[in-house]
Subunit: 218 residues, 6 copies
């Protein structure tokens, strides 16, 4: 039976647990196994370009060594090491930002990104341009909460505050930037997808779900 | 249990049967049902803009009336009635050309399209521009065989000739146009996907498979 | 003597009458005849993608059967059946949205579109991208009045209210979106062109006039 | 009665005479007068950027002083002084390259340019980019004959040789660059339009005709 | 020793003096001489397209006649005669707008332009498109002061008012248009570069400095 | 006195020595010091995405620790760690690929890249798109020689063979892809710049020289 290995490149197990739960609907009894692993030597959250680069080598090691996996998903919205990993293996490797942008093209005219921090926005701008998708990009709004602050039970702002800020940022993307499909710009936001979509009346893409879905097609 | 309805808008049952077989790997015991229907009042093959427009109303009727379906796939590479169908229902509707282009972004830098006939090329050019994907588009080469000619057992050129022409066109896309991922530009080419990918050493996307995969993610 | 056939694909005769009047300045004694016809089996107004598709076949029939015409203008801003009609005949066929965008490039740096309803905006966005004109597109603002509401004497908001809303939307396009040429996004707005242009101090393009002008050049 | 003033900015009267003849079909008994003037102090042909700039001031003087004209056409494919002239008057001013590119959008998917000399190609490349039309641009091929060589009776290569080279260049644009509409890249090529279109089976745009047609719409 | 000739195409000596002072940091004892000249027959400030075109011929004369120069910089943000000058000589010729946009790509994600007058904005829009840089362009805001008003001691608004308006326009570009690098859109603003950069916390490019820097690399 | 630190991220001292010699013309007696360092823990040549990522952390350490430097140049054509380094310091950091593309915009209409190996081409394609420069990009041709093979005295193909291949690839870029300015796609090709430019008659950009030139402007 095929196995899709989802690599959370930050070391926060609660983030891995969250995505593991979010992927449950894609686990079919006859379908591929979907396994999530935490990169022990990653930073608690990937919030800077230096964090991005630091996890590339350990990600590539995983990709090279895990003979039991048939496809890989790098579950961080900065797609760290995506192209390095693709050079490491002939198996398919998905980055969740790239996958989310691709999937969003089939759910609306213009995608908006819900970022965690303002500092992510220029990084995403480069990613959108590198993907050649500027014509479909509506805008990017940050909610001002770091990766670890998103985790349930963390000493962060709490779920209700996270939701409020996502609704505010999503409203701005929908009404001011005219986005009609939103992308959660972090692997740790999966639990907010359904309520946010209901609240705003537009499709919301969880990037990890998007990437694992694409991997199912192999 | 969820049901994905795949609508073949041409009336050639053999084309429907071919895509039905090709979708087998996406049928998981615990997963959504994937049902393929033939549009009885469609033309034998959709090869002109007039054919495209003629099937819009019957497609929209299917979408409106089939309460038992949770998502729809319009299985013709011209994406006939895609936007009309989306206005007809709040359920997700996928067009296979749009889906194939989206999925191709995660499998290579530049996608090439293998068309059936020369007359399809301007139509595809408009679709690529409308999708805002010109920066990722390598080129489009036709094999000179119509939809019904692709069907096994038809009075067409035969499987071996179809394969030869696909290899020749794919080689041109790979070497001259520098495509590193190819899209089969017709719903009736699914059986050639794996041998073509092996022969050319690049990923090959079957558009119906791409669209149904995306539908699984819901 | 040459004849240009202008097809109004909605069944509202008052819309046809309005465009007929608006085309008067292009009727030269030695020039081509400009004839306007109403598509009897069209909907009262073309306001959805389904309406667009419904009129394609009757438009193509007109184009195929009217041997007495030398060029065709499809007078609906969604350009229904434009490419299907072009496959039907070797005579020139013009779509008024395509023509208006083309002509606008010679009258300003950035064109804005005055739409009737919010629902038209995504359809126009696809049309702008499909035309490859995103770099010249400033924005799109709707006035919130349907096709039939534009017609004089209709039970709509009345001419003065239509004009007020056009001025408000045009001001937003000019000042916020920095459009310096405006396109009337419906065949039924022709009578507002001159007063609107005077009020806003920018060129205003009536799309039917634009298309018939282009047809004169043949 | 309205008057359209067509300014040939080179001093070669035979070029003016040629465009005058080519515009005959747009002279309708009840329509605007179409008058062609030669810029006495222009160079014999506009073949360099320096030529382009040299004629700007005299063109602007014509535009400022000719109170009897209602619209102006600058009949040189480099559109010399187009934006300067537009600042000089509130009347419409058309450049023939800009007009030809605009009109070509309604006659095919991808336009190709038939240039006189290789040195024109980078200038046209800038013009296409400045117009924001790169997505519709197929390519540019030069025939290697200067402006004065195009004129009938000149000591140039002769009509038959000009035609042969236009057919060869047009064939390359159609088959290699996949252009499906061609633009004559010089005001002095008008007489070749119809035979070239027949020979190649694609629409051919004469830029002066395109610009005067647009002026008729006012 | 090499010599870079900086040509101020307006006749205002105070503008030349200002750029001369601003270039002081690039004068190295062992490096190229940097000489600034005023175009005696230029207008006091280049504020219209007609001004732009009027200085082309005298600029080209300078470029052709100054055998003692090894590289040329045309120090006006409209890059008048840039391409004509390049046809005149095989030596490198830099336009300060083109140079500033190029250099800005290495200092931020999105460049904004600080213009002198509203009338410059469409001219800049064409320049950005002609340069193929629309994807990196954030916006353009004018301060409402002409060239001669920028000069110290002039009967203009005074340095403090100029600075206030630059800060206001720059703030708008940074916060509303999301520019992270700003370009001074006039050769006469050099003295404001450092204080403006400090005030706004983003890199600010003086275009003349940018062009002379590039010339040093030869 | 200011100091520009040029970091060669591969461990091949001969590459550092070559760029050191090539930068000699930019060392002015009164100008900034230009110091070149070799990254001891880098790979011999940076030829894969994994190599790129491996040197990011050591580059960032250099940038963080070298208090004596006022600007940094990362002298590898993959711009490894460019954005990470920019987050590490407020001093300017230049990547040589980004700098070379920027500078090329001022020397020609369309830039071509001379790559070392075929495997670099998709990486460059992403870089061109991420830079938003697709409209100015002509093409990319590899010479089939790795970094260490370029070094004089190495056990590579020898200088004369390298030159022959550069001429062949450059000719293809100039004549087939219509590039009119070429970029050396590796920091180790500097010594070929002048002879190649003479041989081909187009400007050739050495990327390290381009980046250091830009750094001089600070």
């Amino acid at each position: 039976m095929a196995r899709i290995l989802v690599i959370n490149p930050n070391s926060t197990q609660a983030v891995t647990d969250g995505m593991d739960r979010a992927l449950e609907p894609l686990r079919f009894s006859g379908g591929p196994e979907i396994a999530c692993v935490t990169l022990a030597d990653g930073p608690p959250g990937i919030e800077t370009q230096a964090h991005v680069n630091a996890v590339v080598a350990p990600i590539c090691r995983q990709v090279a060594e895990r003979d039991d996996a048939d496809a890989f998903v790098i579950a961080c919205f900065s797609d760290p090491g995506l192209h390095a990993a693709r050079e490491t293996t002939t198996k398919p490797v998905y980055g969740i930002a790239e996958a989310a942008m691709a999937v969003s093209l089939t759910r609306g005219e213009r995608f908006g990104i819900l970022s965690i921090l303002d500092g992510s926005i220029p990084r995403h701008a480069r990613a959108v341009r590198a993907a050649g998708l500027s014509e479909r990009f509506a805008g990017d709004v940050a909610i001002g909460i770091g990766v670890t602050g998103l985790v349930e039970g963390a000493e962060g702002p709490g779920e209700s505050e996270v939701m409020d800020r996502l609704v505010a940022a999503g409203t701005r993307l929908r009404d001011h930037h005219r986005a009609d499909v939103l992308i959660l710009g972090c692997a740790g936001m999966a639990s907010y997808r359904t309520p946010l979509s209901k609240s705003l009346g537009v499709a919301v893409i969880d990037p990890t779900l998007a990437a694992v879905t694409l991997a199912l097609g192999l």
